[in-house]
Subunit: 397 residues, 2 copies
């Protein structure tokens, strides 16, 4: 069960509805990242109160821990985590390559960047990747960042793995290239990802029920001809929707170009998910270009370090550990109606961060996710009333 | 505003009501520890849902961070932390001595035992304590475990400090002795604590409004004559209630003896708080001897390491990281109706602990605190219906 209806268009921006077996996602939607089957620091109850519509988990991480068989036996991801609403699983292509390469540097040395919340878009040269992550035409051999154990992913095995997890939307296995990759490497990786895509789709048809939708991933780095080639190839397959992955270039301008090359070649009627995007500015910009879904660790990761969103602030955020909040009786944002702003002062939140209390990370995460939900609500409303450009101007000038 | 009424007695056990300016505490009550102005890993909302009646914060920790002046300016502890119900502040006598001495060992070496949740009842010899914690008749000089800064506490200054924090019930500054202290040291420390007590009470009368109650602390270690002497001395002062602190001996039997020596000498009409007690067995035993209030970090600290309470289990607890829960679809306790048991399986909670997700610590804490609240409810009900001994037998045999 999967459908996508466009309710309104405003320029290239679209407001729509994705219907899945576990309910509806009103788009454009921000999808919080739940790498290890939880959005870090918050619970399902919290997300329901916030109004989160869907979460995105990570097949790579869940394969390593607790393992897809455990989750399958527990009745699938929704039942395992007690989350009845839509779930997306990312294949973990990015994680395999970035964590594999990271391992090579020596776990101890870069361990602090290891755990959880791997984002897409790392900067790892192909040379390093070759040793601990071995790619061949069939798939990829890699080593667990947890215990050094050996694993092999193929397009088929990842499709099976995601089948067992049982998310509403699954992403195929891709090789995720970085801005440091040259044209030749990016092209070769893209073409292999295309061949993997055909195999993943075949495996999907063989094993999957009608409750699970599958999204292809457009690759090609920041190279115009590669992005166009990839968008044509992926866009012509029978996917329920499309993700745009890999390197989005080295600047915002390059990212916008990637979208402008890619999106016209993807079916207008199917949803488009931009992987790893989530600043306020980026969101307005990518929505204005026709993106329907995006996920990003930034709002939750920033929250855990004490950085919280405030509409009027520089770069839409403040850092709670700033000394000036020591005696600040005001909530994070006076205009916010989240449960945190209703109850706590900046002074108290600052104290909790200074005292390294776990609660601090949760409270800040709730605020940031609520901020994102309310902003997305405004965006959807504005598109429906033809006022998206006005709203964008109001927010980001 | 402070009153205590005994509603029912069953043997020596009593069920009553403490009324404070911030509401009622039905006794006997377990008071969760909120050392740094939060019960670790949970929020005020969580505590309200759990049914927590009161929390106990720590004047020593709050003096060091964020400082009593900050809290006073923020409108006092209740407003600062967004908790409208009763609050107790412990003076932090124990923390001064134990953390001061700990510092002497070299912070790095024992840093893991430093942060948060200091319990009363450490095991620190008097020799070590002499260097970084200097006690004289007037008070105590100590060094912050956070930054090495120098501080001085006197009975008067701590009473002022607690006045600024604004808890409903404050405990006076005491010197907390350990089971390793000999008779002579314990006696000398107790006598000094008595002299400090007189000064604290005078300062309290000078500065305090009627909304703050003050409890004295009985010391004397596990020595009968000292406990009796201390109970007589403290018991004869105009305190609203009494706490029993310091060493409770080296075994449960010695602890029960301490209570049997002490409690008959304290006014029957005033509440008695036993500091630092909180296992299931201990609770039934101390309630049966006439204790009305107790606090303990064990339920919350154990929760954070994955140890959760289950009535039928060995020692009333299970460890969620145990491999046998890997595929366990059942909640922690099928008979429990907390929000965690309603929503999550042991398999999922185990995964969250294994994956070191912060959420794990919160979910387990909620369960353990709920378990304690429900057990205390049963205890109060049983005392009121003359069935406390039967309930005790049912629980601990």
């Amino acid at each position: 069960m999967f459908s996508f209806e466009i309710a309104a268009e405003d320029g290239k921006a679209r407001a729509g509805r994705i219907t899945t077996a576990h309910g509806v996602i009103e788009t454009p939607a921000f999808v919080p990242v739940a790498t290890q089957a939880t959005v870090r620091a918050v619970s399902g109850d919290d997300l329901e109160q916030i109004g989160t519509q869907a979460i995105i988990a990570n097949a790579y991480h869940l394969h390593l821990m607790p393992g897809e068989e455990v989750i399958r036996k527990m009745g699938g991801l929704h039942r395992f985590i007690g989350w009845p609403k839509p779930i997306i699983t990312d294949s973990g292509g990015f994680q395999i390559f970035s964590l594999g390469a990271a391992k090579e540097h020596g776990v101890g040395k870069i361990a602090p960047i290891f755990p959880q919340d791997r984002n897409r878009g790392g900067h790892l040269g192909s040379k390093r990747r070759k040793r601990l992550v071995k790619i061949d035409e069939g798939g990829v051999d890699f080593i667990s960042y947890l215990d050094g154990s050996k694993h092999r992913f193929t397009p088929e095995s990842v499709t099976q793995l995601e089948g067992k997890l049982g998310a509403d939307i699954i992403l195929i296995l891709d090789e995720c290239t970085s801005p440091l990759h040259d044209y030749e490497y990016t092209r070769a990786a893209m073409e292999r990802t295309h061949r993997w895509t055909v195999r993943a789709l075949e495996e999907y048809r063989r094993i999957s029920g009608t409750d699970q939708a599958i999204f292809g991933i457009v690759q090609g780095g920041a190279y115009r001809d590669l992005r166009e080639k990839s968008a044509e190839f992926i866009g012509s397959r029978a996917f329920h929707g499309f993700a745009i992955g890999g390197s989005l270039g080295k600047s915002k301008e390059e990212m916008y170009q990637v979208l402008e090359w890619t999106l016209p070649l993807l079916s207008h009627e199917r949803p488009r998910h931009l992987l790893g995007i989530g600043t306020v500015e980026d969101i307005f910009d990518v929505v204005s270009r026709g993106i329907d879904l995006f996920d990003c660790v930034a709002p939750t990761r920033m929250a855990r370090s004490g950085t919280v969103f405030v509409r009027g602030a520089e770069a839409y955020r403040i850092h709670l550990l700033n000394a000036k909040y020591r005696e600040d009786r005001q909530p994070i944002d006076e205009s916010c109606s989240c449960q945190i702003c209703n109850r706590y002062s900046k002074a108290y939140l600052r104290h909790l961060f200074a005292a390294r209390e776990l609660t601090a990370e949760r409270l800040a995460t709730i605020h940031n996710l609520y901020f994102m939900e309310k902003m997305m609500e405004q965006i959807r409303g504005a598109i429906k009333t033809g006022k998206f450009e006005a709203l964008k101007k109001e927010w980001i000038g």
